[in-house]
């Protein structure tokens, strides 16, 4: 995603066909286009061929340990809330080859870097919280001494089409975390879906010259359209869940709170929260060889701090108990992440609540442990 230049801002309106052409153009210019698509019982972010793949008329019902698709009474393309996983799947794939090593004749081996990169990606339907998550991961993968060149390249090349939420899920708390629902930065094009009796259109605003170019042929938006778009996002500000990020900083100072035992009694340490969290970045590596042992590869795989092996040092694991592992996860997310990167590791998307099999709620746990009197 290229840097924004405000004087290039163009606000336009696309109808459904216009959006279809927009996607078609992206594909024509060589992008792999990823967007929301219904796949059996969920809406996931996947390769799409065109606007017809978008989950028209599908909504979702989400709460602790609960995700159900439901039909909406409108034909909204972006009314499904959030998919199970954010865009880290595309930007930081679950399995990445780091290198291949081949034995040389006469001893030693050569190391080959991974295969040449795939074509650039375009993301359709990135929510405000997801944009924030992308920015946070970008910091992890390049803020300090070392950068992950793969992540940085994929992100730099990616074309980001953000979409503003028109309503919040029961699990959303982006407003508390200051990451949404309004899309403010980090996009090439920002869409706001407008549906009423007379029309179904998308107010499309460019955030970068690249975005502006894509919208060149589109019809300019009227002041009324722009006003309507602003109203849509207001609706999404009404959220049920709240988290006080400043208070949650105190998690690190409460390593012996009795609540850790209570939450550990429910936590299955399955690691679902870490897999669906759009900022969780931990990985492990796997070394593989062929049968002859002449060719070896090293793969990087998503990992979870909920596994015992995660903290292994010679002799054994450091965090053997569920309480220590849950504590590590939430404390890192809400407290020590701030020490590391000057911002919180939680963007308020609520995925960890939805996809926790036992419905553990990060907002409740943070409040209980930092003594905010909620339970």
């Amino acid at each position: 995603m290229a840097k924004a230049k405000r004087d290039d801002v163009a606000v336009t309106v696309l109808d459904k066909d216009g959006l279809g052409d927009f996607i078609k153009n992206l594909r024509k210019s060589g992008y792999q286009v990823f967007g929301p698509r219904r796949d059996s019982d969920a809406v996931i972010y996947d390769l799409i061929d065109g606007a017809d793949d978008l989950p028209a008329g599908w909504g979702s019902e989400q709460k602790g340990g609960h995700y159900r698709l439901r039909r909406r009474d409108d034909g909204a393309l972006f009314g499904y809330g959030l998919g199970p996983q954010g865009w880290k799947r595309q930007l930081y794939p679950p399995r990445q080859k780091l290198f291949a090593a081949t034995r040389k004749e006469g001893g030693g081996f050569t190391l080959a870097p991974p295969a040449p990169p795939d074509p650039p990606m375009a993301f359709i339907g990135v929510r405000a919280c997801e944009l924030a998550a992308i920015a946070r991961q970008a910091k992890v993968f390049g803020d300090r001494d070392f950068a992950d060149p793969g992540y940085q390249r994929r992100l730099a090349e990616a074309l980001i089409v953000a979409v503003q939420c028109g309503e919040a899920l029961d699990t959303c708390f982006c407003a508390s975390m200051g990451t949404g629902p309004e899309v403010k930065a980090g996009f090439d094009v920002k869409l706001t879906e407008l549906i009423d009796e007379s029309r179904h259109v998308f107010v499309a605003e460019a955030g970068t010259p690249r975005g502006a170019k894509l919208l060149k042929a589109a019809k300019p938006a009227s002041p009324a359209d722009i006003k309507a778009a602003a109203q849509v996002v207001k609706n999404a500000e009404i959220q049920q869940k709240h988290l006080d990020p400043a208070a949650a900083r105190a998690l690190a100072a409460n390593p012996e709170h009795p609540r850790w035992d209570q939450v550990a009694a429910r936590c299955l340490t399955c690691g679902n929260c870490t897999m669906v969290c759009p900022t969780c970045f931990c990985t492990t590596v796997e070394d593989v060889t062929d049968l002859k042992g002449d060719n070896a590869e090293r793969w990087r795989k998503w990992d979870s701090c909920f596994t015992t092996d995660f903290s292994y040092i010679h002799g054994g694991a450091v965090r053997t108990e569920a309480r220590s592992r849950y504590r590590q996860w939430i404390t890192h997310k809400l407290s020590t992440w701030v020490d590391q990167f000057d911002e919180t590791g939680c963007v308020g998307c609520g995925r960890c609540i939805t996809w926790c099999p036992v419905g553990i709620d990060i907002t409740e746990e943070a409040a209980a442990i930092t003594g905010q009197g909620r339970n």
């Binding site: 780091l98 290198f99 030693g108 190391l111 070392f146 390593p255 931990c282 990985t283 492990t284 040092i313």
Partner: protein, 278 residues
Amino acid sequence: MNVLPHDPMVPVPFRIEKVRRDLSDTFTMEMVPEAGGDFAFRPGQFNMLYVFGVGEVPISISGDPADRSVLVHTTRAVGTVTEALDALKPGDVLGVRGPFGTAWPVEAAFGHDLVFVAGGVGLAPLRPAIYQAMAHRERFGRVIVLYGARTPEDILYKKELERWRGRFDLDVLVTVDRATGKWGGNVGVVTNLVARGGFDPLNTASFVCGPEVMMRYAAAALEKKGVARDNIWVSVERNMKCGCGLCGHCQWGPHFTCKDGPVFRFDGIADLFQIREL
């Protein structure tokens, strides 16, 4: 580092030149970049060593930082990868990523007495700092090496310790947990040597390296002696996998042990030492 590739996750091949067995399970390897060139590092830093097809392991660098022509690692064979390292011979090739992590602040200790407290193989990560300190010997008051080993047979770098002990400008005190054979030296934990003093506590910097329990008690002994927390440094071990803060494994409270450590100033982490399973 001069041979660090653009991608910090891709190793550079090094060829082993020499292997020396230090102890029954501990060995020292000298290696050079296969493609030629130097290897620069600061004392206390570590590398990720890759054994073809087996995996990678973080090992501290134990050579002389002034000699960039050769990379020296002392390793104890305790796991799959270190055992595979142990099987390598001169001429074999391994992959190196690094150097990573923070260093013993030898130069910041100029003007002070300098006390090294080492336990077991913890002497290996301190050795580069001892070399560096001795290269600037005139910049320090007293320089003392306190070393605790399990038995006389487990004393690492024994000949070198003897050589050092022969110097007039370096005090070397060794103690063992269990005396065996004709051992006529000290018996007892290394913290006892700290208690014995011989340095000016108000003007002392101390570098401590060994098992975490030993470091906790050594730091306590130094504090009891009057050395301030901000003059004590320790080297912490956690699960370093990438070495460069990308994989998350070595997190310890707010720290990525691989890049904020392994060498930490004690005042910054003393509280973390007290939290179980952190």
